[in-house]
Symmetry: C2
DNA sequence: TTTCATTTGTGAACATTTTAACAAACTTGA
DNA sequence: TCAAGTTTGTTAAAATGTTCACAAATGAAA
C-alpha cells in the first residue's frame, strides 16, 4: 500500500523525523544496517509501528537483514524535504536565539542559519558562532535578497505576532515560533508553535497518574 | 460519559493544557465566561472537540452561556495536578537554562524554580532572576532536603543521560529534558524529552506539501 | 411569562492509528 | 546447495480519536 508523500500520516512523519535523528547517530558508528526491532529499542517505538511507517514511503528493507541506514536516511530526508539544505533566519537573539545560533548540528540536520536579527543595538554587530547579528530593519531586504522562506522567532512574546505579520507580508512562508501563544498566519503560510512549558505540565500529569506513555 | 482522571485520553490532556494557557490570558481581561465556539477560535481547536475534552473532566458548562473561566481553570489545574505549586530544579545553566530561569510566568503556570545547578565554576554563585546558581555537587543533598521530584535538564547532550541516571538514583522522579536524544529512565521515573529542531523539520515537510495541520 | 437565540453534553458515525500475526523473502553457515 | 533462523511488508482486527447533529438546558428580551 504505497501512498504519495502527501498521504503519509502526519504522525508517521513525526516518527520518521525521530528515526532519522537516531539513524544519524547510528551512521556515525560502524553500523550499516538496522532491523525494526533494534530501531524500536532505540526509539521506544514498537517494531510493527516502525515497519508500517516505513511502508508508507516505499520498500527499502530486506527480509532477514533489515534496513540499510544510508539508504533509509536518504529516503526519509527526501520525504521530509530536507534533502536540500534549508536556509533559515533567526529573529530575536536572547537566550533562546543564542542557544539556536550555538547549536552545532544544524548542517547534519539539514539547515543553515543564513542570518540573525535583533532590534537591540547592543546585540547588533556581535558575531555568535560565526553568524553576525544584524539590525531588525535589515531583515526584510535580507530575506528578499537571499530568498529565505523560513524564520525562527525567538522574540519576546508581546511582539511575536506582529513580527510574524511583518515577515509574512514580506514573503516569509514558514514560521517556527518559541512564544507560548497561538499564532495566526495568512493563507499559504505555515507555523509551528512550541511552548517550552507545556511538556513540563504534561510531565506533572503523568507523574501524578503514573502514566508511562 | 464521565471518566476517572486517569482515563482522560492523553491527547485531551495536552489540549487541556493549551486551553488553560489561553484561559489564563482571558482571565486577565474583563471576560468571565467563554463558549466552546470562542475558545475554539482562540485555540484553533474545533468546538465539538473542546466540549468532548471538557466532558471527560465533568460538566462545568451552562447551555446558552458557556464555561465560567475561573471555575474551568480550577478544574483543569486539578486534573493536570498543578493546583498545588510544583517546585522544580534546573540543571545546566547555559543559554537554555538561563532562558528558563528568566521566564517570568512560572508562578502563573504553577511552578517555582527551587534551585539551579551547573558544574562550571564560573557560573556558580551567579544570581539570575533571584535564583542562585549552585555547584553540581550540591544537587543531590539539595533535592533530598527540599523534597524536589522534578528536574529540568538543559545540559550538554553528551552528559544528559548520565545526569539523569545520577538524579534518578538520588530519588528524582520526573525529568524534563532538552537534549535531542531518547532518554532511558528506571521504572517509576518519567521523562519528557523535547528536541527543539524536530518541529522545524516538520515545518519544512508541511511547507513542501502545503499541509495546514 | 413566553418566545427566541444560544450553547452544552452526548450518542453514533466516521476517521485515523496501533497492534498482532504470518507468508514470503532474505541471510548465514555448514 | 540446503536448512535454520531472521526480518520484512501487509492484511485485518482492535483501539483510539474526531466530528456531526440534535435534544435539552439556559439566558435574554419583550
Amino acid at each position: 500500500m504505497k501512498r504519495k508523500p502527501s498521504e503519509v500520516p502526519h504522525i508517521s512523519i513525526e516518527r520518521l523525523i525521530l528515526y532519522r535523528r537516531c539513524l544519524l547517530k547510528l551512521s556515525c558508528s560502524e553500523v550499516f544496517h538496522v532491523s525494526s526491532a533494534v530501531l524500536g529499542r532505540i526509539t521506544n517505538v514498537k517494531p510493527a509501528n516502525i515497519r508500517k511507517d516505513l511502508s508508507y514511503v516505499g520498500e527499502y528493507g530486506k527480509p532477514g537483514y533489515g534496513y540499510e541506514i544510508d539508504k533509509l536516511l536518504a529516503v526519509i530526508e527526501k520525504i521530509i524535504g530536507i534533502n536540500k539544505l534549508q536556509r533559515v533566519i533567526v529573529v530575536g537573539v536572547g537566550n533562546i536565539g543564542e542557544a539556536l545560533l550555538c547549536y552545532q548540528d544544524w548542517a547534519a540536520r539539514g539547515f543553515e542559519i543564513a542570518g540573525a536579527f535583533d532590534k537591540d543595538r547592543r546585540k547588533m554587530g556581535r558575531v555568535i558562532n560565526g553568524i553576525e547579528v544584524r539590525g531588525d530593519s535589515e531583515v526584510l531586504p535580507f530575506v528578499k535578497k537571499e530568498g529565505i522562506e523560513i524564520a525562527i522567532l525567538a522574540t519576546p512574546t508581546e511582539i511575536t505576532q506582529s513580527k510574524v505579520n511583518e515577515l509574512a507580508h514580506g514573503g516569509m512562508r514558514g514560521f517556527y515560533v518559541f512564544s507560548p501563544i497561538v499564532i495566526d498566519v495568512p493563507g499559504g503560510c505555515y507555523v509551528e508553535n512550541i511552548d517550552m512549558i507545556s511538556p513540563l505540565e504534561f510531565l506533572v500529569y503523568r507523574l501524578k497518574n503514573k502514566i508511562s506513555k
